[in-house]
């Protein structure tokens, strides 16, 4: 049933990785088609085999992985076709397809480009290899390509190295490289995952434009349902090496058949609205004095240069920030990478020593202390009430201590419990975060990412805090776990009257959990307000740009291409 438009037809593909004591079937009987000029999105959570599928097409699966059976028929424009799966992975024939007829771009542009060759060198290489161009001709073509992917000053950019480019620019250069020989198929393996949403929107824009100009087929691999809804014509949903569902994007989003697809979408859509737990809460007393009142907070890191390491300038990571947190509420701090949100979160607990400003904290007795100016002993006291949850559930738990020791550590060092009392308290905390109390004797390596994050929460709760700073606490988790974790945090908030400062780059997470939001941009808070109001009707230009760059998980609401663009006054 291959029609003329089908350019790539994958049937019953199996890619296996022999490991000690068995075989990992990374791709287990995958079939789908790619049509000229169309975009197929392959979507799935980590470990679903989507990336290996992409690599199998060009036979560049890392050893010991190997395409075992199946066919990958590539139909050329001139009517000939070839089964890529049947070719020798190191042979001349498949090499003449790679980069020339089917090109590929990858997730991490920094590590996917050579650190010691210029961008120009890496682009001209493809041209000289496949099109047999001379040096001069290839260089001219490379400049044109860089111009086509909107890299400013391409004549000079071509001489630069990967590390001199910004993240978005690197991905553009990578696209230029992939498009050098006018391929008929472009395989994009999570090309925007490592990028900020506004940069992601720009790259998606660029890819869309180039695709319609050239009539390429695009196979786009992603885990982000929003991106799928935004760009896909067809969707392939993968789970544990198998295709569980495929069909037109409209059908997948509005009439999903497979339970896994439904679950995946359900989790994503759940995060599109504020949490149900928050909806039934009584409103916070309006005119209560704030729990935390941050005034004029600054954190400047010196830039040292030259032989004598003189300070030539400062990075203003946090630049004159005022925020207020009320008891029992969740304040979201949202921003892109480099906005200073994480630094701000860490300054609140004096993990970093702020350069200037006040962090006024109201104690239980109503007295107010400036955390920024506390002596070490008093600071320790304050840190019992202000706790932190970290982003990386693997790095934040000492792998050499048992879970019980980790959770008990704050109780022990503060002299609050020991012996059997400590043991009981740890068991109670484990139960509270939904873990089995018998697991206290285990080490963190025995737990999954989601479970580890729960351990981190239990540690934060151990001292009965009043405020918890959560730094990207759900970013490392798959989307199905994210909502669970947020619900747990909201539930604990209700039970223990906690206030959260929730730092995140993810608008949907912020909308789900936060009462109020502060938007950060280049070290400054550009907008503060009720979560609903900021998310639905932003005032500041940057917030508008940020929000409109977030793809919605609904193919009927495509809007990235008409998004708001923000040009900073400072720049």
């Amino acid at each position: 049933m291959t029609d003329a438009a089908t350019i790539l037809s994958i049937r019953d593909l199996h890619t296996h990785f022999p490991v000690r004591g068995g075989i990992v079937k990374a791709v287990d009987g995958v079939s789908f088609d790619l049509a000229r000029g169309k975009t197929v999105c392959v979507v799935g959570e980590s470990g679903s085999g989507k990336s290996v599928t992409a690599r199998s097409i060009l036979q560049i699966v890392d050893p010991p992985g190997r395409v075992v059976t199946g066919s990958i028929v590539f139909n050329r424009a001139n009517g000939t076709s070839v089964d890529l799966a049947a070719l020798n992975p190191r042979g001349r024939e498949i090499r003449s397809v790679r980069g020339a007829e089917i090109a590929m771009i990858f997730q991490e542009p920094m590590s996917s480009l050579s650190p010691v060759h210029t961008i120009g060198n890496q682009i001209t290489e493809v041209l000289r290899l496949h099109l047999r161009m001379g040096k001069k001709e290839a260089t001219d073509r490379a400049v044109d390509l860089l111009r086509a992917v909107e890299i400013p000053n391409p004549e000079r950019a071509i001489e630069r190295y990967t590390f001199e480019y910004s993240g978005g620019m690197r991905q553009r250069a990578m696209i230029a490289m992939a498009l050098a020989c006018n391929p008929q198929v472009l395989i994009a393996d999570e090309p925007t995952t490592a990028l900020d949403v506004t940069t992601q929107a720009e790259i998606l824009d660029l890819m869309k434009r180039l695709q319609s100009e050239r009539g390429m087929a695009v196979m786009f691999i992603t885990h982000d349902m929003g991106v799928v809804a935004e760009i896909a014509d067809e969707v392939v949903v993968m789970y544990q090496g198998k295709v569980v569902e495929r069909g037109p994007v409209e059908q997948i989003f509005h009439a999903p058949q497979d339970p896994y697809t439904q679950m995946l979408l359900g989790n994503v859509l759940k995060l599109e609205r504020p949490s149900a737990i928050r909806a039934v809460r009584a409103p916070l007393p309006a005119e209560e004095p704030p729990l935390l009142d941050v005034r004029g907070l600054k954190m400047h890191f010196p830039i040292r240069k030259g032989f004598f390491k003189r300070i030539v300038d400062h990075v203003k990571a946090v630049d004159d920030v005022d925020i207020v947190v009320r008891a029992g509420e969740t304040l979201g701090i949202v921003g892109e990478s480099g906005s200073g949100k994480t630094t701000l979160g860490r300054c609140l607990l004096r993990v970093y020593e702020p350069t200037a400003g006040q962090i006024l904290y109201r104690r239980t007795d109503g007295s107010i202390t400036d955390v920024a100016a506390l002596e070490p002993d008093r600071l320790r006291e304050c840190r019992r009430e202000m706790r932190m949850i970290f982003q990386d559930p693997f790095a934040s738990l000492n792998p050499r201590m048992t879970v019980g020791q980790i959770i008990g550590e704050p109780l022990l060092v503060n002299g609050l419990a020991e012996g059997s009392a400590l043991h009981d308290r740890v068991a109670e905390l484990l139960k509270r975060v939904g873990l089995n109390p018998d697991w206290a004797e285990r080490y963190p390596h025995a737990f999954s990412g989601g479970q580890r994050q729960r351990i981190g929460i239990a540690r934060a709760l151990a001292l009965s805090p009043r405020l918890i700073v959560a730094d990207e606490a759900t970013s490392a988790l798959d989307v199905s776990l994210r909502a669970q974790m947020l619900d747990l945090m909201l539930q604990l908030q209700d039970e223990l009257k906690l206030a959260y400062v929730f730092v995140s780059h993810d608008i949907s997470v912020i909308r789900y959990i936060c009462d109020r939001v502060a938007v950060m941009y280049r070290g400054k808070v550009v907008e503060t307000g009720e979560a609903e109001q900021v998310c639905n009707d932003p005032v500041h230009g940057y917030t508008k740009a940020l929000l409109s760059a977030v793809p919605r998980p609904d193919p009927r609401e495509r809007r990235i291409h008409t998004r708001h663009r923000y040009v900073s006054d400072a720049a």
Binding site: R55, I60, R95, M104, Q107, S111, S112, L129, Y161, F163
Partner: protein, 328 residues
């Protein structure tokens, strides 16, 4: 780039100062001083020097002055006039004794360095690309062995084998007829003929560790995403191997000069003693045994300077090939 080189050159100043200071401390370390030794030498030939004469001698050589003044005199003599002091054992200025031996030391160590690289580089790449192959195991085992055998032991075994099997003496850098002859083309050729034995022995240790370093570097780089990118471009395996992972792995390889050279100079010292090579080592040992400290100090100073210059060169070379360092 120029800035980097200038910065690196400026760093040499305190290093050289520290080295010269260290050498002078070593000179001063043994109990007694030049005059004590001088008197002892004279006493051996039944000449008695009385106390006032000794004090006079001390005043003349400036030995009654504080340490730092003596140091300044010594170092300024070296820097301004190339004067390293007197060797009492040889009754000659030190500078007349050291230069030819230092030059030969340089010849031996630099040929060893080149040899080490020439062997270790291809083998390192090969063992990484063919990880867990028979060849890999073979060279890995050889590498371990090379690391475990002290170079002087290897020299001894080689000498033993040469004597027992071939009845030949593999010691020395020259045939007897050239040993004291002035430099000529014949002597240079003769040197090259003799050079391979000590070079081979000296290269064993370094080669063993360099193979391991190169292999580890390559294994690190072989599975990097940029290699996959290159593969997806359609490059042949051999070409992409040479252009990408080998090119990146070569950088830490270059920086090995930094520790390889000091090791080589150390190793050459002992091997030279065993094989009686006319390079710095044996004379340094002899001067230390007889506490001819100005001679010993000069050798220590020059050997250390040699390794410092070597490190400098490797740093500059590294900056030349690695843009990440150049732009830092």
């Amino acid at each position: 780039m120029l800035g980097f080189i200038i910065k690196r050159l400026l760093w040499m100043v305190p290093s050289l100062f520290a080295v010269s200071f260290l050498a002078f401390v070593l000179i001063q370390l043994p109990p007694g001083d030049y005059v004590t030794t001088y008197i002892a030498t004279l006493a051996a030939s039944n000449e008695i020097v009385d106390r006032t004469a000794a004090a006079e001698l001390r005043a003349r050589f400036g030995l009654d002055q504080p340490f730092i003044v003596q140091y300044l005199k010594w170092i300024s003599g070296i820097v301004l006039r190339g004067d390293f002091g007197l060797s009492f054992e040889w009754q000659q200025p030190v500078s007349e004794l050291i230069w030819e031996r230092m030059a030969l030391t340089l010849v031996v160590t630099s040929s060893t360095l080149l040899m080490t690289w020439a062997i270790a580089f291809p083998i390192g790449v090969f063992t990484a690309v063919r990880q867990y192959s028979i060849g890999d195991y073979f060279f890995t085992f050889l590498g371990f062995l090379g690391l475990a055998i002290p170079s002087f032991l290897l020299a001894l075994v080689l000498m033993y084998v040469a004597v027992v099997l071939f009845g030949a003496d593999v010691g020395g850098l020259f045939s007897p007829e050239y040993q004291t002859a002035p430099w000529s083309w014949g002597k240079v050729l003769n040197l090259i003929e003799h050079l391979w034995v000590p070079v081979l022995i000296l290269a064993t240790n370094g080669t063993a560790s360099l193979i391991r370093i190169m292999r580890a570097n390559m294994l690190d780089e072989l599975h990097r995403p940029y290699v996959t990118t290159a593969r997806a471009k359609g490059l042949s395996e051999f070409r992409l191997l040479l252009k990408y992972p080998v090119r990146v792995a070569i950088n830490p390889f270059i920086s090995t000069i930094g520790w390889l050279l000091p090791n080589l100079i150390s190793g050459a010292l002992i091997v030279a003693v065993v094989l009686s090579l006319p390079i710095a080592g044996p004379l340094l040992l002899q001067s230390l045994m007889s506490q001819d400290m100005y001679l010993a100090g000069a050798f220590v100073l020059l050997m250390c300077t040699l390794t410092l210059v070597g490190t400098l060169l490797s740093d500059i070379l590294l900056a030349l090939v690695d843009p990440r360092i150049r732009f830092d």
